[in-house]
């Protein structure tokens, strides 16, 4: 494998607290402290003047729809979208068709990943058989087949007893249990946040209390069993408060926020645009501010996209009938930089930490660092470049993004996985 010399970058590595202009060297797919004269001459040179070089971004929450819903996305197209967004590792949710509740499906996914993925893609397995919430999936066998976590994302386990057993059992394998926190009895037919806007629009409301109840349940179960529970896409200010207090007690709780929940609010639904329909729904400005405060003080651990592709014809419907979700991999970095760094004065290395080292640690993966000897997964981006995002010409198979047609600031220039350039100059290599 060839060598790389990334020159004059602002190198940011949260793990070593490095933030300085300098060079990065890669040999045989790993970071090295220098290259010998001869190798240096042969090395591929990347002039990163004015650019940031940081660990490749890591997203623990994406939907790549394969197997079964490949009209929306595939592992191939999804991983290309990820690479274009600066991501070098992603974790796929198991709500495929069939759902990933058995080692055979995981094996199939891993075969496709080996064949088609341009970055590192890890599957998760279901918590329950068929994601139906009735009985435990073969969690140990799923772990052996290679899942990095278990989750019934989208279909929160409603039975408290089953959830208790799931986390207790998964703890034996040191597998994080990721939960989409939603009390379904309170959200029947709900399509947006319950509040002033849903009242005005005549749409069925999804009260934040339905999230808060399950967040509290999960905190209680985590503390009772000692198991690690990861709370997906937190959207409610009360949930942030519950998590903050749980962490003060030392609970093994982690939580994520999405770029869209920290950037957008339910006011945007005034025109019934289905590009603002997702689950959990966009909430109010007070909730949005609470999420940002939660990221600032460590209550919320990471940024995750919940990249959820749907075709145009599926999204182009009456609001009630359109599916939930938006794509996010290609816009995550600029949107997060805009909200956290530009508008809320977060330090850039801290925001990179939210998208690299911390998510790696959360799922017990070694990435997210520029340390010598580590796999050379790198994201090189221009924090100041303005560009017009058009979801139609993006790399995802779907284009359901609320940011399509907007000018974003911050653009990924090069993505490197294990020392290999996979995205550069706007193209997948």
């Amino acid at each position: 494998m060839s060598s790389l010399w990334i020159k004059n970058a602002r190198v940011i590595d949260p793990a070593s607290q490095r933030d300085a202009i300098g060079d990065l060297f890669v040999a045989d797919g790993k970071f090295v402290d220098s290259l010998s004269g001869a190798t240096k001459k042969r090395a591929k040179l990347i002039d990163a003047q004015g650019l940031v070089a940081c660990p490749g971004l890591i997203d623990v929450h994406v939907h790549f729809r394969e197997p079964g819903q490949t009209h929306k996305e595939t592992i191939g197209t999804g991983s290309r979208a990820a690479a274009a967004g600066g991501f070098t590792t992603v974790v796929c949710m198991p709500n495929t068709a069939p759902v990933a509740d058995n080692p055979g499906t995981i094996q199939l996914m891993n075969d496709v990943i080996r064949r088609d993925a341009v970055i590192r893609v890890h599957p998760t397995g279901c918590i329950t058989v068929g994601m139906k919430g009735d009985s435990l999936a073969p969690i140990g066998s799923l772990k052996r087949a290679g899942v990095v976590a278990i989750t019934d994302d989208g279909d929160c386990v409603q039975s408290n007893d089953l959830m208790r057993r799931a986390v207790e059992y998964a703890k034996m394998f040191d597998l994080p249990v990721m939960d989409h926190c939603q009390d379904q009895s309170m959200t029947q037919g709900a399509v947006m946040n319950e509040g002033v806007m849903s009242t005005r629009l005549g749409l069925r409301g999804w009260p934040n209390a339905a999230e808060d109840l399950i967040v509290a349940r999960n905190v209680i179960l985590s503390e009772y069993t000692g198991a690690h529970i990861h709370l997906q896409h937190i959207s409610s200010r009360f949930s942030v408060d519950i998590i903050r207090r749980a962490k003060q007690r030392g609970a093994r709780i982690t939580a994520e926020a999405t770029p869209h929940h920290i950037a957008l609010t339910d006011d945007l639904l005034a025109t019934y645009d289905t590009h603002f329909k997702m689950n959990p729904p966009l909430r109010t400005e007070v909730d949005r501010q609470a999420l940002i405060a939660g990221l600032r003080d460590g209550t919320l651990d990471i940024i995750a996209t919940d990249h959820a592709p749907h075709t145009d014809y599926e999204k182009d419907k009456e609001f009630d009938y359109a599916p939930n979700g938006i794509i996010g991999l290609e816009t995550a970095l600029p949107v997060t930089l805009d909200i956290l760094v530009r508008k809320n004065k977060f330090k850039l290395p801290f925001v990179i930490d939210l998208m690299t080292r911390r998510p790696a640690r959360l799922i017990n993966l070694p990435g997210g660092t520029l340390a010598l000897g580590a796999e050379a997964d790198i994201c090189i981006f221009d924090p100041a470049e303005k560009w017009l995002y058009d979801a139609k010409v993006g790399f995802s198979k779907s284009s359901n993004s609320p940011w399509s047609g907007q000018t974003l600031t911050g653009r990924v220039k090069t993505t490197i996985v294990g020392g290999r350039i996979v995205f550069s100059g706007g193209r997948i290599i």
Partner: protein
């Protein structure tokens, strides 16, 4: 001021002047309703499609009748007979209707926001005949038209809307119309069906029936549906009636000149005593009649007619179409 809107999607987006233009146009059309020859030639040669994807009796009949009185050709399509049952999308259904050279679509749909969605797809006017729990603009227009007929100017008038507000498009359209017209609106009903969120729309929310009805000049009742009880929103129809049903005693708290309204269909003995529904103060059937005049006005204006050109001459072979430029 000329009328410029092609669609009628919500009352929320209308100005007070536009509401008054529709009302004034409806006054002119109302005078034609009682003549022996009831047709006017205003929309002769136009085809209006009533796309009713949710059941309706009153609204559909009134739109049908209004279009025919304007000499338009009317085609009615309902949910069970349309291709939507075969999985055709609303977009495709509507585009087909446009390709069939329909001049206007009147849509009733269970999904809130669907008329707005259609208006963005189609080049022809779209009239909202009720979208989910969102709006029912022609109902709000005919209700305020009826109130004005009986009470005159609505500024400062006390209006109570009583019942299942949460799921009611009629309530929302009336709230927008009444607040624009300066009326003082109070919403009353069980707290589960009248959440506090509504106060953001410029109205009062109360669960004290007596206090709210005291000296009110209009009480508008909304139908109580059994499904809401099944969903746990209130304990029983019996309890609802005992707490919030309008009976003679409660009606006596109203202003002596007060009128009683209901958009229908009514549940006698549930939200209103039969005696009151049929009594002197009830304007329930006037609402139905006014519904034709108001919908004639809406169809006429959105088809490009101007309020000052309404010449309610009977349709004859030789008469010039009203509003013809």
């Amino acid at each position: 001021m000329p009328w410029t809107r092609r669609h009628l999607l919500t009352i929320e987006e209308l100005s007070l002047a536009e509401i008054e233009q529709i009302h004034a146009t409806a006054v002119a059309f109302k005078s034609t309703l009682t003549r022996s020859v009831k047709k006017v030639p205003a929309l002769r040669g136009k085809t209006i499609v009533n796309l009713f994807l949710e059941p309706s009796t009153r609204t559909r009949l009134a739109f049908d009748m209004a279009a025919k009185r304007l000499s338009a050709d009317v085609i009615s399509l309902d949910g069970s007979s349309s291709s939507t049952t075969k999985g055709e999308t609303l977009r495709d259904t509507a585009q087909n209707l446009q390709a069939l050279q329909a001049d206007m679509i009147v849509i009733r749909h269970a999904a809130a926001g669907s008329p707005l969605y259609l208006s963005r797809i189609l080049n022809i006017p779209v009239i909202n005949a009720g979208d989910g729990a969102h709006e029912h603009p022609t109902q709000g227009l005919l209700d305020t038209f009826t109130m004005k007929e009986r009470l005159g100017c609505l500024r400062g008038r006390k209006v109570v809307i009583l019942g299942d507000i949460l799921f009611s498009r009629v309530a929302r359209s009336n709230i927008h119309a009444l607040t624009k017209m300066g009326a003082a609106v109070t919403l009353v009903g069980p707290s589960t069906l009248v959440p506090q969120w509504f106060t953001a729309m410029g109205v009062r929310v109360s669960h004290d029936l007596r206090g709210a009805l005291a000296d009110a000049e209009v009480v508008m009742l909304l139908r109580i549906q059994h499904e809401r009880q099944a969903a746990g929103l209130f304990p029983s129809i019996g309890e609802y009636t005992s707490m919030f049903g309008l009976n003679k005693t409660r009606a006596s708290w109203l202003n002596p000149k007060a009128i009683i309204m209901h958009p229908g269909p009514i549940n006698r003995g549930v939200e209103i005593d039969s005696e009151l529904a049929d009594g002197d103060r009830s304007v329930i059937l006037q609402q139905v009649t006014n519904g034709i005049a108001v919908r004639m006005a809406v169809l006429y204006l959105c088809a490009g007619g101007q309020p000052e050109n309404v010449t309610p001459a009977p349709a004859t072979e030789t008469s010039r179409p009203a509003g013809a430029e």
